[in-house]
């Protein structure tokens, strides 16, 4: 049954990917600035432009380009960068691992931080911790993440010199230096997430704690701790699980900014560079991979949701 449920959820993903890729593809073609002119630069003669366009398949109708691209993409071929000639798949491979690590850390911070603040706030209502958590829940969404990154760098790198201001070390090259490098960007990336989860979980916990089954728990003789952790949290987490799925997209987008400031060679850097250069194949490839990641995460959150909520029929 559960497998069937997963399969159904999974099949549902396919039309979604199809629409998404179509949107992305057409959007990219709308972007002005001919990549051929950019590639040829000063050598752009009429013939050369036409030749290169043909070579890159840009002279075909958009829908053909899409079908061609999609067909190749399904077969794992994302084409070559218009600029570097590098295989897009290869380029993405090199950047993806980095971004995944970054987003994973950001996500961990967001979830851990969000849960910590939300629970603290509910556990100690009207205490300074409650107010702090509530304030943070709002403040976090109000600070642009580049400002946050900058402030962190000024404090922890330039002044205290505790943590590096730029760069990235993969976790496979040493957990210590990985942590040192990832702390600031990870936190900058997660700030909004912490806030969002704090808010969401707090209000959902608050609602849950008013539920009758919590009163039942108290009536059984349970204490606050038990009521919150054994009874409230699992129920309150349900709406948050969906939020976490959505956060993923936000975070992947935010890597564009964070990776720029911390000079981390991830997908964000890759895509922003490619957008600037009109390197369409790379943009398409990166965005496709990002979407697949979001979709996969959403798929997983659905599964987690179904596991957390016995009321979901599968």
């Amino acid at each position: 049954m559960f497998l069937k449920f997963m399969l159904r959820r999974f099949l549902y993903v396919i039309p979604m990917l199809f629409i998404t890729t179509l949107v992305v593809f057409s959007l990219i073609l709308l972007i002005p600035g001919d990549p051929v002119l950019a590639i040829l630069g000063e050598n752009a003669t009429y013939e050369k432009v036409a030749e290169l366009r043909q070579q890159l398949g840009l002279d075909q109708p958009v829908i053909m380009q899409y079908i061609h691209w999609l067909n190749n993409a399904v077969h794992g071929d994302l084409g070559r960068s218009l600029f570097t000639g590098q295989l897009v798949g290869h380029a993405i491979q090199q950047h993806l691992a980095i971004t995944i690590q970054l987003v994973a850390v950001g996500m961990t911070f967001a979830i851990a931080g969000g849960m910590f603040f939300a629970i603290t706030s509910i556990y100690f209502p009207k205490s300074w911790m409650d107010y702090a958590a509530r304030f943070l829940g709002t403040l976090g969404t109000a600070v642009p993440n580049f400002l946050c990154a900058m402030i962190l760098i000024i404090i922890f790198s330039l002044n205290l010199n505790w943590l590096p201001a730029t760069g990235f070390i993969s976790i496979t090259d040493g957990a210590g230096s990985f942590l040192k490098h990832i702390l600031l960007p990870g936190f900058s990336l997660s700030l909004a997430g912490i806030a969002v989860i704090t808010r969401q979980l707090r209000s959902s916990l608050m609602e849950t704690m008013d539920a009758e089954y919590i009163r039942t728990a108290y009536a059984k003789g349970a204490g606050r701790y038990r009521a919150i952790f054994k009874h409230g949290l699992q129920n309150a987490m349900l709406p948050v699980v969906t939020t976490i799925g959505l956060l993923m997209g936000t975070m992947l987008g935010a890597t564009v900014v964070v990776e720029n400031i911390f000079a981390i060679p991830g997908m964000g850097q890759l895509v922003i560079n490619a957008i600037g250069q009109r390197d369409f194949t790379v943009v398409q490839g990166v965005v496709l991979v990002m979407i697949v990641m979001v979709v996969v995460i959403n798929f997983l959150t659905d599964i987690v949701y179904a596991l957390l909520d016995p009321r979901i029929e599968y």
């Binding site: 039309p15 979604m16 990917l17 199809f18 629409i19 998404t20 949107v23 992305v24 959007l27 990219i28 709308l30 972007i31 002005p32 709002t138 403040l139 969404t141 109000a142 600070v143 642009p144 993440n145 580049f146 400002l147 900058m150 959505l246 997209g249 936000t250 992947l252 987008g253 935010a254 564009v256 900014v257 720029n260 895509v271 922003i272 957008i275 943009v283 965005v287 990002m290 979407i291 979001v294 979709v295 959403n298």
Partner: protein
């Protein structure tokens, strides 16, 4: 519920009410900006760039020697105008689509919602970047992109709410009396789904300002000579080692506005919730 009651209930939420006052002040400042700004915000003086605050220029001057205070005031106008503009798109496009989708269900709903899901899966900032570069880099295009990015969220919200409201007995009563879709949509659905949408809009107004700031930071937002807090921040960021204050003013303005928008949203959520009302 009348505006008066909403206002009364909002006043009970202290933080939200303070935010409301702040935003009212901001709007007044924005409206009055042309009259109260000490200088013409576009008046350049290249001999006096990046000056620290002084009696003459309370907040100093920017990279072109313009008065920063005047630009900040001008920026408040831009912030409000552009955020309203950005929010109009989901309100005018997303909400009706969501209502249609939720009300009629079936194939329309399936198709709309698949599209909405698909667009939501595209990382918002990347989508906004893509749309802005497709439309051309300037403030209004950036805001349009932001509006488009918000649209699926509103469509989804409106749909969810409509799904609930359309089954309410008062809608059924109207149906029994022969009301058609248009009547039901305007008399029953829209008024009743508006509170969560107003709340969402209130959050997203500030989100729009925040996103514009991020786009500006990436060079895809407002461009001088247009004045926005976002491009002041961008300039402040790039000249931070010349005069760090330049980033502080728009930074604080943005943060306060967003905070106010969020607190107001929280307050409205409570004020507009009929569950919180008691029989009088």
């Amino acid at each position: 519920m009348s505006f008066k009651t909403i206002f009364k209930r909002l006043r009970a939420e202290r933080l939200a009410f303070a935010s409301f006052i702040f935003l009212v002040m901001l709007v007044s400042v924005a409206l009055l900006a042309p009259h109260i700004q000490p200088y013409d915000p576009f008046k350049q003086d290249l001999t006096k760039v990046m000056q620290l605050p002084s009696a003459e220029h309370w907040l100093g001057t920017d990279g072109l020697g313009c008065d920063v205070l005047s630009k900040m005031l001008m920026g408040s106008q831009t912030a409000i105008k552009s955020a309203l503009f950005a929010i109009m798109i989901p309100l005018l496009v997303g909400v009706p689509l969501g209502v249609l989708s939720g009300y009629f269900g079936g194939v329309i709903d399936d198709v709309f919602m698949r599209i909405v899901d698909a667009i939501i899966a595209i990382p918002a900032l990347i989508l906004a970047l893509g749309i802005t570069s497709a439309l051309g880099v300037n403030l209004w295009n950036a805001m349009m992109a932001i509006g488009i990015v918000f649209t699926p969220k509103f469509a989804r919200l409106a749909r969810g709410q409509t799904l609930q409201v359309r089954l309410e007995p008062y809608v059924e009563a109207a149906k029994i009396s022969g009301a058609g879709f248009v009547w039901i949509m305007f008399r029953h659905i829209l008024p009743n789904i508006s509170p969560p949408i107003v709340v969402q809009a209130s959050f997203n107004l500030s989100m729009a300002i925040l996103t514009e700031t991020t786009l500006s930071f990436l060079g895809m937002g407002a461009q001088p000579p247009d004045v926005s807090w976002g491009n002041l921040i961008q300039q402040g960021y790039s000249l931070i080692y010349i005069n760090p204050w330049m980033i502080v003013y728009p930074g604080i303005a943005i943060m306060l506005t967003i905070l106010a928008g969020n607190f107001l949203g929280d307050g409205l959520r409570v004020a507009l919730d009929p569950k919180q009302q008691k029989i009088v």
